[in-house]
């Protein structure tokens, strides 16, 4: 089993190297959310909520989005592209267990998501005085881990169901952008129509963002871990995992 871990580690490093050597991927995953962060601050300027800068709330929301880009979007598109190129087919002809290959992709996505989120908070702290609430750190990390696990599985499920590598980027964006809008990532949704609230509640992003933002909310004194939120995420994670393992194909579809 030791050797499985070695193989997994090599795959993670390999996927990671490929990511950094593909500047477009690196740009969309890392730079784009940072641009959002800067733009938001231009728009909301020095607004404050009871003396706390507004950035304390939108920084974790955008960090959620960047974590989702690094896992969901990155995995869906990257896996489908590699499949189209016949890379997955080649891998399938080696003794590398499939789960280790996928584990490598997920591991690298998680690593990039972590980097992205850390950069975001560093910037938030430096420029906008965003504070990490250290008493909530355990909750924050737990939410982050469950969130990226869910969205990794979701990304692979999309690559499993959509077989054409050309269609996957469009499908992935068509899923994640509307979801971000109704999930309170870019603006507060408490005043939106009830049905839209409801739709937002069905999908996992709103729950991920809500919990993550809550763990940065200095006004919440009660335990911030909402089990219903966690429940929805885990349900999506498991459902995605089932879809991904059930329908995934390794050969190009042509």
């Amino acid at each position: 089993m030791n050797s499985s871990l070695v193989l997994l580690w090599r795959q993670i490093r390999h996927q990671n190297a490929m990511f950094w050597r593909t500047p477009v991927a690196a740009f969309f995953t890392l730079a784009l959310p940072l641009m959002f962060l800067l733009l938001f601050n231009v728009i909301f300027g020095g607004e404050e909520v009871n003396g706390t800068p507004f950035a304390q709330f939108f920084t974790p929301a955008i960090a959620t989005f960047s974590a989702v880009s690094a896992t969901f979007t990155n995995l869906a598109i990257g896996t489908a592209l590699s499949r189209d190129l016949g890379i997955l087919k080649r891998v399938r002809g080696t003794p590398l267990p499939p789960w280790i290959y996928m584990g490598g992709r997920i591991g690298s996505g998680v690593w990039i998501a972590s980097i992205s989120v850390v950069i975001m908070f560093m910037l938030g702290w430096l420029i906008y005085d965003v504070q990490i609430l250290w008493e909530n750190i355990a909750v924050m990390v737990l939410v982050f881990v469950i969130g990226i696990a869910t969205f990794s599985a979701f990304g692979l499920a999309v690559a499993a169901v959509v077989r054409s590598g050309e269609a996957v980027p469009a499908v992935a964006q068509a899923i994640i952008l509307p979801m971000a809008f109704i999930s309170g990532i870019f603006f507060d949704t408490t005043n939106s129509p009830a049905w839209l609230e409801l739709v937002g509640n069905i999908f996992p992003l709103k729950h991920f963002a809500a919990l993550f933002v809550d763990s940065f909310n200095p006004f919440l004194t009660d335990p911030v871990l909402g089990w219903n939120h966690i429940g929805v995420m885990i349900a999506w994670g498991i459902a995605s995992l089932i879809v991904a393992t059930r329908f995934f194909i390794w050969e190009p579809n042509n």
Binding site: L7, A17, G93
Partner: protein, 302 residues
């Protein structure tokens, strides 16, 4: 016992009956070549043996495994060069060999493999910068990186320049001297002739001929005598030889079951008439002639 035993194999795709009941055996250490026109079912057969595709009927055993559920232990012992497959363009040649080599329990040295396929100059270049033939050579190296007992080569030398092809042939010959079993598909008949111990010709999903290269050649019977028709004689002046005589432009070709006899008659006739038979030659049928003949028959038969 055979390294590969295929019995009554069939494969249907949605609209095509790609393999229609084929059987063959490959002994350990043997080089077995599958020939046949485009769409004959070579890749389908090989990919069933590799464990990529499920069969519709029949049985398949490779190194004692059923490839379809052989999993990791099976793939650890075979090397696969697919007709088409991709590689991460951002990797370098030696990184690819390191990464893929690390997946096998036995592995061959990266540097040694790079030399073997002649990519020394490209070892630390990104794969995206390789030419088509160079990529194919890397494919070949990757097929060998796990030091496999059995190697599948689906059109391995397509896109190679003549010297790279020669080199690949020597490489494959060397593998057989190490006792490796090789299953090869190719469209190059000289390749099959040079490398294969046994050849099966597939046509429309059936094996239409099988044997050693010389057996296949021997069955093909007739030799061909060609020469240029002397300007002073017409076609009707030629002696009757009891063989088929074709005249195309000035070139006469005679399909002869008994070339010694026919040649004798022809030259006597020419000497008597005082004409010379320019560019006269006798040609034994090549594997290519045999192949074309077999495949034509197979094609008519469906």
């Amino acid at each position: 016992m055979g390294a590969v035993v295929v019995t009554d194999l069939t494969k249907r795709y949605e609209h095509v009956e790609a393999i229609r009941g084929i059987s063959f055996e490959v002994a350990p250490g043997e080089v077995f070549a599958l020939l046949g026109p485009n769409g004959a079912g070579k890749t389908t057969t090989v990919e069933i043996l590799e464990g990529y595709r499920a069969r519709s009927g029949g049985s398949v055993e490779v190194l004692g495994f059923d490839p379809w559920d052989g999993g990791t232990p099976y793939r650890d012992r075979v090397g696969i060069v697919l007709q088409e497959s991709g590689l991460e363009a951002a990797m370098t040649v030696s990184e690819a060999l390191e990464l893929y080599g690390g997946m096998y329990s036995n592995r061959r040295d990266t540097k040694e493999l790079i030399e073997l396929v002649g990519l020394e100059d490209k070892a630390s270049e990104r794969i995206r910068t390789l030419s088509g033939g160079q990529r194919r050579r890397l494919d070949l190296a990757l097929g060998l990186v796990g030091d496999p007992d059995l190697i599948f080569l689906d059109e391995p030398t397509t896109g190679f320049d003549p010297s790279a092809r020669r080199r690949a042939w020597e490489l494959i010959k060397d593998l057989t001297s190490l006792g490796k079993t090789i299953i090869l598909t190719t469209h190059y008949l000289d390749e099959a002739q040079y490398l294969a111990d046994r050849i099966a010709v597939l046509s429309a999903g059936k094996i239409v001929a099988e044997g050693t290269p010389s057996e296949l050649g021997a069955n093909a019977g007739e030799s061909t005598i060609t020469f240029l028709l002397p300007g002073s004689v017409g076609r009707g002046d030629l002696p009757s030889l009891g063989s088929t005589v074709d005249v195309e432009g000035a070139t006469v070709s005679i399909s002869s079951a008994d070339p010694t006899q026919d040649l004798h008659l022809l030259t006597n006739w020419a000497v008597d008439r005082g004409v010379s038979l320019e560019q006269i030659q006798v040609r034994r049928p090549t594997l290519e002639d045999v192949y074309l003949e077999i495949v034509d028959e197979g094609g008519n038969g469906q």
